[in-house]
Symmetry: C2
Subunit: 321 residues, 2 copies
């Protein structure tokens, strides 16, 4: 079997691993990105990381066929660069592919990180075998990766999938993207934490305070925990969050009608407390005519490994043609 290196590059760390052509993760490595440093240093560290991973294979390293990099922002695989990223110091003329390929002797492929995660889920995760699958990631922001017609969809400019930046509430919460009322401002973990804090300020007697104190901070779990303990203020926060998430998911279903739509990221750790009401809402409100099959709404299966696995599989598929 052939092996690939998948690299899930982020502003904080670069998680990488060796993945076989069937999507099994065989070895892992993680380094700090150090995004404040010059691009050259980051690329050197990534090359070292790839070489270190390759070395763990001993003589088998000859079976390594390529490297896939999942990057935030807008990677351009054709040019071998990241055209734009808000949290990496790469510029449109930083020759990422060239740098890594030279040091490792392997072909290098670049793709958006959310798209890689969606590919992993569509190949070996919760949307296994499905030609049209979308994965939403609810974390600091909202990621959206799309596999359409059995391939990663990234738009003509590699910048597709910014579903987090679709306005759901004109004139609503301000968003760093410059618009107001973006989906991300209601459906991200960051948004949930913001609303939890607001509820705490309004409701000093709420159990939210206790759970936040116990955890040492307000997190995306705080409202869910207090809700399960019967707290009204927490129930309101969760219910408002789920309502907006559901509106967004229903919108995405109506546009793309994927066979499977997956929800991942930190907030998805709440499991059925989160998913069941979203699924019910979509079932009731999506634009399905009679006789028309419904999109399956489920939890993403691969967690933090989706990015590595997807980057490797993307390289494998590019390799295959």
């Amino acid at each position: 079997m052939e092996w690939y290196i998948g690299m899930d590059l982020g502003g904080t760390k670069c998680a990488a691993g060796i993945v076989d052509a069937e999507g099994r993760l065989l070895a892992r490595d993680s380094i700090r990105t150090g995004a404040h440093r010059p691009a050259r240093e980051i690329l050197d560290d990534m090359a070292d990381q790839a070489i270190r991973l390759a070395a763990t294979l001993g003589a088998d390293r000859a079976r390594l066929r390529g490297i896939g990099i999942g990057s935030p922002g807008t990677p351009d695989n054709h040019q071998g660069v990241v055209l734009y990223s808000s949290n990496l110091p790469f510029r449109a003329d930083t020759a990422i592919r060239e740098a890594l390929s030279e040091r490792t002797g392997l072909p290098v492929h670049l793709e958006n990180d959310a798209a890689c995660a969606a590919l992993a889920e569509a190949r070996v995760g919760a949307a296994r075998g499905v030609a049209n699958a979308v994965t939403l990631t609810l974390g600091t922001g909202v990621g959206c990766g799309m596999v359409l017609g059995d391939r990663i969809y990234h738009g003509f400019n590699n910048a597709a999938g910014e579903f987090g930046h679709t306005v759901l509430v004109p004139g609503g919460e301000p968003c760093p993207c410059g618009r107001r009322g973006c989906f991300e401002q209601y459906a991200s973990a960051t948004a949930l934490i913001r609303e939890t804090r607001r509820a705490m300020a309004r409701r000093p007697a709420s159990l939210l305070h206790r759970f936040a104190r116990d955890e040492g901070k307000v997190s995306a779990r705080t409202a869910f925990q207090a809700m399960r303990a019967g707290d009204d203020a927490a129930s309101e926060v969760v219910s408002d969050y789920i309502r907006m998430l559901s509106e967004g998911v229903t919108n995405l279903v109506n546009i793309l009608m994927p066979a499977v739509l997956l929800v991942g990221g930190g907030v998805s750790n709440e499991g059925d407390s989160l998913l069941a009401p979203v699924r019910d809402y979509v079932e009731e409100h999506a634009y399905y005519g009679e006789n028309v099959p419904h999109t399956k709404i489920a939890l993403a299966a691969l967690g933090n490994e989706a990015g590595i696995i997807g980057a490797a599989l993307m390289a494998a598929e590019s390799d295959a043609g």
Copy 2:
């Protein structure tokens, strides 16, 4: 050259034509659908229409290779039926393909009407030669056809493209789909007429009344005409309409990043009065990073013929494999 029959089926009429493999419309025919009648009668009339068109070719009718039907609702080409349509009496077991194919002796292909229009624009219209193109149609409702990766995208259940039924204003205007605040309730010609009427009720002195009287009705043009004559109330109606349309278009751009996004349908007859401000808004607000190419926003070029041409080209491409 090979020829195809394209049929643009609607609740009111079925417009059909002979189209060559390069998308040229050579002959046209239009009949009333009579959607209140049994499916069998409608299919008989459509078969007669196809046979009548074929007859105009004389001996050349041997060069006809197939029939493409663009239907509202959710056609399923695999089964040769329309799974669901709110304005046609077809049921999931109405064998449309079989009926037409038997009578005409030609292979029959079914596709959604908005998808056909988008295909026509992507092949021979304003998005000619583009692999990722979206066409929005602003009429009674809002249609959305998508050509992604150089092929019609219709989702796993053939029901994709309901961008009109994405909520833009939670709790907003009620929509027949059951949700509130759908894009269609702000961006369709119907919505524009509703807001024009509301402004007329509020502003008895507005020029809107004069233009409506001259035309004999309130139409999607009324507000644009009165605005160009300097009327304040009309300017507000148009400006609110364009703002919501622009928010929706920007959302769609951020999700799909098509090379070209076209605006067609009745309201698009306003040309640059409509398009220029939408384009400006998208340019300013879409989620383009530095160095990333921008989606081109333009008017659809094929007008009412897009449906016929696209249905025929769809048949031609299905024919080719």
